[in-house]
Symmetry: C3
Subunit: 140 residues, 3 copies
């Protein structure tokens, strides 16, 4: 008999760009699911945000911000055709592709099956409004 | 009792680069699968193409094309060692890594569990020939 | 009755950067799992390494190395805030995001459901020490 669990995490980040460690919340969902062996999908439900796995180190996070700003600068706003729709988040749609929409994590013996430094982050590239992450767990 | 469904989508894009909205086809496959709770994998079966989730906005798609062309220009052809094999698609292998091979989408209550603007796209970076996308659904 | 299998692959790459074809090992794990229909997750357990799917062509692999070095140069070491922690692998954390942490592959009729050229690679960006890849298979 397959089990499943669905859960949303809500964010309202006060800045345009930020990274938030959500490992604890995902871990809690895995425990609630009672799944011993399975898969855990964690994805941004918005197209200007990411979910990714990397290190919880503030210097690295600043490196990511600088690097992404170099690859897809926020300004000039009118550089992006997308911004002709009245948006100013063209760059956020590009940054999210580099960092990715989702992660899939193995569940083994009822826990996230992680390497030594793996932590799950919500990556916001167009904040200052309410946005969501979806956790979906399936297994047995 | 786990259910599963496998389906291929075929493309023959007349241009080198294009983005095609395949959300409707994936949605149809989910309905056919009779899976209520599960996961839906959608992946390019070719290594110069992507499947990704973002906005169905033509200005943004042009931004993606320009941006990817800046990150991995098609020309000069002989810039890429891969093209010494007689190919001219070295850049397409790089662009596909930025946009990704696959997406995994949650299925909840028999439907794609999507945020407000999420749409699934086939991203072609070396078209003008027949290529495929795989949809694989598992769940209950 | 859902089946699952968990397996680790270990690496100790003698260079900083390398790509290793692990398709055969993943294929073997699928056979061992006795899963006919399901999903196979393959992920780097370290945050300076990738698992990705592309072509097994040495010219392309050199193109990837050159391209990633352009996008996120290893030197100067002090360019990266992360390296103030005493590390010298700031660039490796960035390169891994471009190439991705994981792939999810469909299993159909007991085999990896692949397109004609798809091969799975371990991508090392900070080698010369022991690191792991996780294979997790679920299905029926």
């Amino acid at each position: 008999m397959m089990k499943s669990l669905r859960k949303e995490l809500w964010f309202n980040i006060p800045t345009r760009v930020a990274f938030v460690n959500i490992t604890k919340e995902v871990h809690k969902a895995v425990k609630e699911s009672n799944v011993a062996e399975g898969l855990c999908l964690v994805n941004a439900m918005h197209i200007t945000a990411s979910v990714f796995i990397n290190d919880d180190e503030s210097g690295l996070h600043q490196d990511y911000k600088d690097w992404l700003e170099g690859l897809a600068p926020h300004e000039p706003i009118d550089h992006y055709r997308h911004n002709r729709t009245g948006e100013d988040n063209g760059d956020a749609h590009l940054k999210r592709q580099v960092m990715g929409r989702e992660v899939v994590v193995a569940i083994t013996k009822g826990d996230l099956d992680f390497g030594p430094w793996e932590q799950i982050f919500y990556g916001e590239f167009d904040g200052r409004r309410k946005k969501r992450v979806l956790i979906k767990i399936i297994g047995e």
